[in-house]
Amino acid sequence: MTVNEILTWVRGPAMQFALVIFFLGVVVRILEMWLLGRTPDLSLARRSGFIPGLRTVFHRSIPAPGLLQRQPLVYLGGYTFHLGFFISLIFFAPHIQLFYGVWGIRWPGLPAYLIDFVAVVSIAALVALLVHRFVNPVRRYLSNGGDYLAWLVTFLPLFTGYLVAHESVLPYAQMLTLHILSVELLLIVLPFTKLTHSFTLFLSRWYNGAMAGRKGVAS
């Protein structure tokens, strides 16, 4: 098979496969969690936890007092990486076309040189976070294979994506193939690793805020 034919396969059946695994995996994971249920709290609430829960979903993104100073890299690096990842994903024109093809909606994008910059900064943040994971005693103690795998499958799409536009390593067709493959890898791996936090974090934050909120604490 030639390079372009592999690219066509990667854009087609391989993507199909990855998305099927992704949807399957995510739905199973959500249902597995959801169906465990929760016994209702019979204690008298000071107020409904619903709004506090919702508030915490957003508010928890703000670092707790004193903790930004203690671990600036975790917060700053973490936000830089996440923001950069999403900006490159959502505001790069070729990606917008991809979503347009799937959902029929599109939105304005950012110029490629800005996306470039954002991608480089995100990659740098990711690398810094990896180093921190090795070097900091708590993170090193906690980290396992799953953490490193999650890092890798997140790093590869950013890295290969950047290289598609900069054909210094491999030509466009080869690099695009690798990039799409790396995205497919991410999709397949996501439901089975801590990357599920990408959707469960909303529920966790909501519970946190609701359980504290019903007691009258803004968490």
Binding site: T2, N4, E5, L7, T8, R11, G12, P13, M15, Q16, L19, V20, I21, F22, F23, L24, G25, V26, V27, V28, R29, I30, L31, E32, W34, L35, L36, G37, A93, P94, H95, Q97, L98, Y100, G101, V102, G109, L110, P111, A112, Y113, E167, P171, Y172, A173, L176
Partner: protein
């Protein structure tokens, strides 16, 4: 035309001066990025060229490649060169037909055995013994194998001959294959494109005639001189791509301002050809310049590479049905898993062990 005529003689008869010929050689050499001095070598060698025999076989093709080469307003140098070689067989162009034409071909092959250049356009059907394309009672398959035996080299003209082209596209009912799938013992050069640029064909010929060898080829056997870069790399609209200025429809403001056609499905980034530099119709224009996205026609499998009007970043997978099915399957598995979990929870509750103060006292005696 006398067989003893040199190329230069022939050109002179058509009013092309030696000077004009030298200019042609210089431009051809420069287009192929040949070293300095090559132009002179080319001029001397080509000028003395004894009109080598060329057999041009057309198989499962649309004749577009030939049309590209020969259709022009006025006789071009390219077409003159082409005519000036001894084109001993070409079904469309030749006057002869039928058994006489076949006989002429077989004679030319015998006379020039081991030295003639074989040019092929169109793919070769192989299913059911290759019956889906025959000429003079023989399958294309037989004809190719026969002609390849005495050829010095084979030029596969057009994407069909080079990579299978449109007959090769799904579901490929005739079992069409490119030349390189059938012939393994002769040098093959793929001059792909649907159709190829005329100057590319003649450039390859000129190189072969001058140096007696095929030019440097890429991994798809295409001459690097013409297929080394992608359209994207040489496209004049590249600044718009870089700035993120894309035409969204064929007649919106962006389109009218000549913005990048990536979002309209341009395959420029993954297509190797000389369209962006050499262009078409003696350098008049090329598809992108005319406002149409590149189809990627010089690449293998371009007919099956997704919708022509869908960007390279889109997926060609039929997402709708499959996603729905995956979610439904996930729901089924998830509900089953959830039911199993509920059962585990219920069992655990039933097996609840009541912790008592007694037990805390007698920890050592627990059994």
């Amino acid at each position: 035309m006398s067989e003893k005529d040199t190329l230069l003689d022939n050109l002179g008869r058509h009013g092309i001066s030696r000077r004009g010929f030298l200019k042609f050689c210089a431009s051809m050499a420069s287009m192929m990025a040949l070293p300095p001095g090559a132009a002179t070598v080319m001029a001397e060698t080509l000028g003395k060229a004894r009109r080598p025999s060329v057999i041009y076989l057309s198989f499962q093709e649309c004749t577009g490649c030939l049309e590209s080469l020969t259709r022009s307003f006025s006789p071009t140098l390219e077409s003159l060169i082409f005519n000036a070689i001894s084109l001993d067989y070409q079904e469309t162009l030749q006057a002869a037909a039928g058994t006489a034409a076949e006989a002429a071909r077989e004679q030319a092959m015998k006379d020039n055995y081991g030295k003639y250049l074989l040019m092929v356009d169109g793919s070769i059907p192989t299913r059911d013994g290759g019956v889906y394309s025959t000429a003079a009672g023989k399958t294309n398959l037989e004809t190719l194998e026969d002609a390849a035996k005495g050829a010095a080299a084979i030029i596969a003209v057009g994407t069909c001959a080079a990579f299978g082209g449109i007959p090769y596209a799904k579901p490929n009912p005739t079992g069409a294959v490119p030349v390189s799938d059938l012939i393994h013992d002769k040098p093959i050069i793929n001059v792909s494109g649907c159709p190829p640029i005329p100057a590319v064909i003649t450039g390859v010929l000129a190189h072969y005639l001058t140096f007696g060898a095929l030019p440097e080829l890429d991994s798809n056997r295409r001459p690097l001189a013409f297929y080394g870069d992608t359209i994207h790399d040489r496209c004049y609209r590249r600044p718009f791509y870089d700035q993120g200025k894309f035409a969204k429809t064929f007649d919106d403001a962006g389109a009218r301002q000549g913005w990048c056609l990536y979002e309209l499905g341009c395959k420029g980034p993954t297509t190797h050809n000389a369209c962006a530099t050499t262009k078409w119709n003696q350098g008049t224009s090329f598809p992108i310049e005319s406002g149409h996205p590149c189809l990627g026609c010089s690449e293998p499998g371009f007919w099956d590479a997704g919708n022509f009007y869908s960007a390279l970043s889109t997926t060609t997978a039929p997402l709708g049905a499959w996603s729905g099915a995956a979610i439904a399957a996930g729901a089924a598995i998830g509900l089953a898993a959830g039911a199993a979990s509920r059962h585990t929870q219920k069992e655990a509750k039933q097996a609840h062990h009541v912790v008592t103060a007694e037990e805390l006292k007698n920890k050592e005696e627990q059994s």
